[in-house]
């Protein structure tokens, strides 16, 4: 993964969020304050603008810029969560120009740890951490990352939030009434990982 792959990753994520912002907002209206799609779209529009304007040397630089966009433009809980994930992911990349699979695994682990630390989340609480945790496990299963497997596990983890009762965030106030609704942050995190898989799969072979 080089800096161009990192840019393509985020631009692909931006397109996915833009085309599903109403869907994400609908999901968030059921369990939260109904702004997830709008907030994420605003942050990613801004990030895409920065990525088009500036040139970057390394994947770490790209993710640092994306982190800043999330922290200053997204708001809600997603801003600090995605922002912290990207910041720690960037730190994990260091100054490397190209990331090998080992580095990508470390980057994903750093992002997952950041989400867990920022949200004080544990597995099974119906948060985006459920997806991050599954992503890391799936990526680490094989020496060379099997992206098809990662996608499958990511999708499963996002879908599994539907039957969970929320223990964190605004949705926790709903108690048992949160059951039956997908967690919006988990659905958007799935899109982030789908985008990464698309970019890195095509570069693999």
């Amino acid at each position: 993964m080089n800096q161009q792959d990192a840019v393509n990753w985020i631009l692909s994520f931006q397109k996915k969020i833009e085309s599903s912002k109403e869907y994400l907002t609908d999901l968030d209206q059921a369990v939260g304050d109904g702004d997830h799609g709008i907030n994420m779209n605003r942050g990613l529009q801004h990030a895409a603008g920065v990525l088009h304007e500036k040139t970057f040397e390394t994947p770490g630089d790209v993710l640092k810029a994306v982190s800043t966009a999330f922290i200053s433009k997204v708001g809600g809980a997603s801003g600090p969560l995605y922002g912290s994930a990207m910041l720690k992911a960037s730190g994990s990349c260091g100054g490397k120009e190209t990331l090998e699979d080992e580095d990508v695994k470390a980057m994903l682990r750093a992002a997952a740890d950041a989400v867990q630390a920022r949200g004080r989340a544990e597995r099974g609480e119906k948060t985006m951490y459920d997806v991050w945790e599954a992503v890391v496990r799936a990526a680490e299963e094989k020496e060379d990352i099997d992206w098809q497997h990662v996608r499958m596990k990511t999708a499963e983890a996002a879908d599994a939030t539907k039957e969970m009762q929320a223990k964190k965030g605004r949705a926790a106030y709903l108690g048992a009434r949160s059951i039956g609704h997908l967690d919006p942050g988990s659905v958007s995190t799935r899109m982030l990982i789908e985008s990464l898989a698309e970019v890195l799969e095509s570069g693999d072979s």
Partner: protein, 128 residues
């Protein structure tokens, strides 16, 4: 004296609470960091600015909802002020009132936080 920062999704809520608290205890410094770009929400940059104005001080933060806490945590990190910033997990109104009274006695941030966190379980209506 320990400073009190009110972090809220709503500017009106934070300003109203600040007004109420200041009337109870005018000697404690209370600030509000509330709203996001003029609307509902919290913003780490707004919170950092308020924290940095008290760079050398002990600060106890009261917040309204979970993501306000997350953004405060992030703002404290961004400002390199993790050591000075204590976040109380308390009822916003009752906790802030207890915090301000405790701060007024010259108590440490740890004691102010403890007072705020204990306030939520207190009955407000006298027993009949």
């Amino acid at each position: 004296m320990t400073k009190i920062l009110l972090v809220s999704h709503s500017e009106k809520l934070a300003e109203g609470l600040k007004e109420l608290l200041q009337q109870m205890q005018p000697d404690v410094d209370i600030e509000a960091a509330a709203g996001d770009s003029g609307g509902i929400g919290t913003d780490p940059d707004t919170i950092s600015t308020k924290l940095q104005a008290w760079k050398e001080e002990e600060i106890v933060v009261l917040f309204d909802l979970g993501s306000a806490w997350m953004n405060t945590d992030l703002a404290a990190e961004m400002s390199g002020m993790e050591e000075q910033v204590t976040i109380a997990d308390a009822a916003f109104v009752e906790g802030a009132l207890a915090a301000v009274m405790e701060a007024g006695f010259g108590s440490s941030a740890a004691r102010v936080k403890a007072a705020a966190e204990a306030a939520g379980s207190q009955k407000k209506r006298p027993e009949a």
